[in-house]
């Protein structure tokens, strides 16, 4: 099994498209950080100008945590696209290049092969988020130094640096879970396709489509919104509520887990019965 995973990882990391994700994360995070490094005071002044009429702010407002939060907010729209770019290709890419028949003539079960592929895809997902953490927190610490986290989230929440650290830890962990849902969806669509364009575009379309429909048709779709996985993609923000809402967090985690199990079950069921013709 280890060998299979290593082979799948090798396949992923020899494809140029894999590095688009890392390059995009690098560019976006560094651009935001440089923007805040040079013009952060002006940007933040504009954001809190209402508050400055009534309050004096003391202390370091722009610091690693505040900037990391903004990076997280800005990047969370892009990360699913980058994840789908690789995980949507995992099965369909093989079908497209006609290598499945060759692989499946080897004494490897389809289940094991799928596990290896999914695990390799998940490793890529994990690495993209790790890169985001390293750049946000690592480079951010060098550029901005530590300080309290200031968040405008309907209310003005200010967390001490120690308090911010574990919240970021949990938010990133949740981020890995919610991106695993996206990876599972792209992986499932990949099992049904013979070409990787379909699953990649399909994953974007499903995520964006459901999000737009559930936002615009909120009153009509209200009963099913709690059951849609897209509802919980931004749920990492729950870890920055002043009082954690454990019910909402648990619902988000269990919904994500349910969707991962559902998407993977469909993938395994379909692929094990699939007639390999390419």
């Amino acid at each position: 099994m280890n060998k299979l995973v290593r082979i799948e990882l090798y396949k992923i990391f020899t494809k140029p498209r894999t590095y688009i994700g890392f390059a995009a994360v690098f560019l976006i995070v560094v651009s935001i950080q440089l923007g805040f490094y040079f013009e952060g005071e002006e940007i933040l002044d504009f954001v809190i100008q209402n508050l400055k009429d009534s309050f004096l702010f003391e202390g370091k407002l722009i610091n690693v945590y505040t900037v990391s939060y903004i990076v997280l907010t800005s990047l969370w729209i892009h990360v699913p696209i980058l994840i789908a770019l690789v995980t949507g290709d995992l099965i369909a890419g093989e079908a497209n290049s006609g290598t499945f028949r060759l692989i499946l003539t080897r004494p490897v079960s389809r289940t094991k092969l799928l596990f290896a592929k999914f695990f390799a895809g998940w490793t890529y997902t994990y690495l993209v988020i790790i890169l985001m953490i390293l750049l946000s927190v690592g480079l951010g610490s060098i550029l901005f130094g530590s300080g309290d986290l200031l968040i405008l989230k309907g209310t003005l929440n200010i967390f001490e640096a120690e308090d911010a650290l574990w919240r970021f830890g949990l938010a990133y962990s949740y981020g890995i879970l919610s991106m695993t849902v996206v990876a599972s969806l792209a992986f499932m669509l990949s099992a049904f396709a013979e070409n990787s364009i379909g699953p990649i575009i399909g994953t974007f379309a499903i995520i964006i489509g459901i999000t737009v429909i559930s936002t615009l048709g909120f009153s009509m779709l209200r009963p099913i919104i709690p059951y849609l996985f897209t509802t919980y993609l931004p749920a990492w923000q729950l870890f920055f509520d002043y009082e954690l809402d454990y019910v909402k967090i648990s619902r988000a985690v269990f919904t994500d887990l349910a969707y991962i199990i559902l998407f993977l079950s469909v993938t395994f069921y379909h692929f094990r019965k699939k007639d390999i013709v390419s």
Partner: protein, 218 residues
């Protein structure tokens, strides 16, 4: 009859002496200002508690530096929010300017008998347009102050004292107006609350309590 006249004269002279003993409002405020001006500079540790409807923040510790006439600095390791008016002893400017003081009445404030004096600044350069000051005449210190400003609405300060040098306060409680504000959420990504107004009333009250300790004066 003679006895009655003597008693009447006695009563009248007693009340007349009491009336004469009550200092003129302007003089009382000037005496207070002179006492405050004895403080050249000080540093102190402060513990700040913020109670504002839309602000969530734990108690914060900081250090405060003051130097005559109006240099005021606060140093904090973390982020600290303070009301724009009230904590920087801006009333010192009022006391050292030209003003008209009007004696209003005597009241019990926080268990202390205090004279309520209205102060109207003569010039137009100050932000303060009117102040009501409750002064503990016996100890010559402010017990409460309510101030009306041009730019920041009104705020009131309640002072608590212990045995600090120069009667510097042990704690103050500032109650101030906070304008209705719609916190921007686009930058921070809180799309759920996008354009959500925090309060529709226009103005809410905020309270900031500050405890002072470890004064080093002059």
């Amino acid at each position: 009859m003679m006895r009655f006249i003597i008693v009447l004269v006695g009563i009248l002279s007693f009340f007349s002496s009491r009336i004469n003993a009550q200092k003129d409002a302007g003089d009382l405020v000037k005496d207070l200002a002179l006492k405050m001006q004895l403080v050249e500079k000080y540093t102190a540790d402060i513990l700040v508690k913020i109670d504002v409807e839309f602000v969530n923040i734990e108690e914060r510790k900081a250090k405060v530096f003051f130097e005559k006439p109006d240099k005021f600095e606060i140093k904090s390791t973390g982020i600290l929010l303070l009301p724009k008016k009230g904590v920087e002893m801006d009333y010192l400017k009022l006391f050292s300017s030209e003003f008209t003081a009007i004696d209003e009445k005597t009241e019990i404030v926080s268990g202390v008998q205090a004279r309520l004096i209205k102060i109207i600044p003569m010039g137009s350069e100050l932000d303060i347009v009117l102040a009501q000051v409750w002064i503990d005449e016996g100890n010559l210190r402010i017990v409460r102050m309510k101030t009306y400003t041009k730019s920041s609405g009104s705020y009131s300060i309640d002072f608590n004292y212990n045995n600090n040098p120069f009667d510097l306060p042990a704690a103050i409680r500032v109650e101030f107006d906070v304008k209705n504000m719609s916190l921007p959420s686009t930058l921070t990504g809180d799309l759920e609350s996008l354009s959500k107004k925090l309060d529709s009333k226009g103005v809410t009250k905020g309270i900031v309590s500050i405890e002072y300790s470890n004064y080093i004066v002059n």
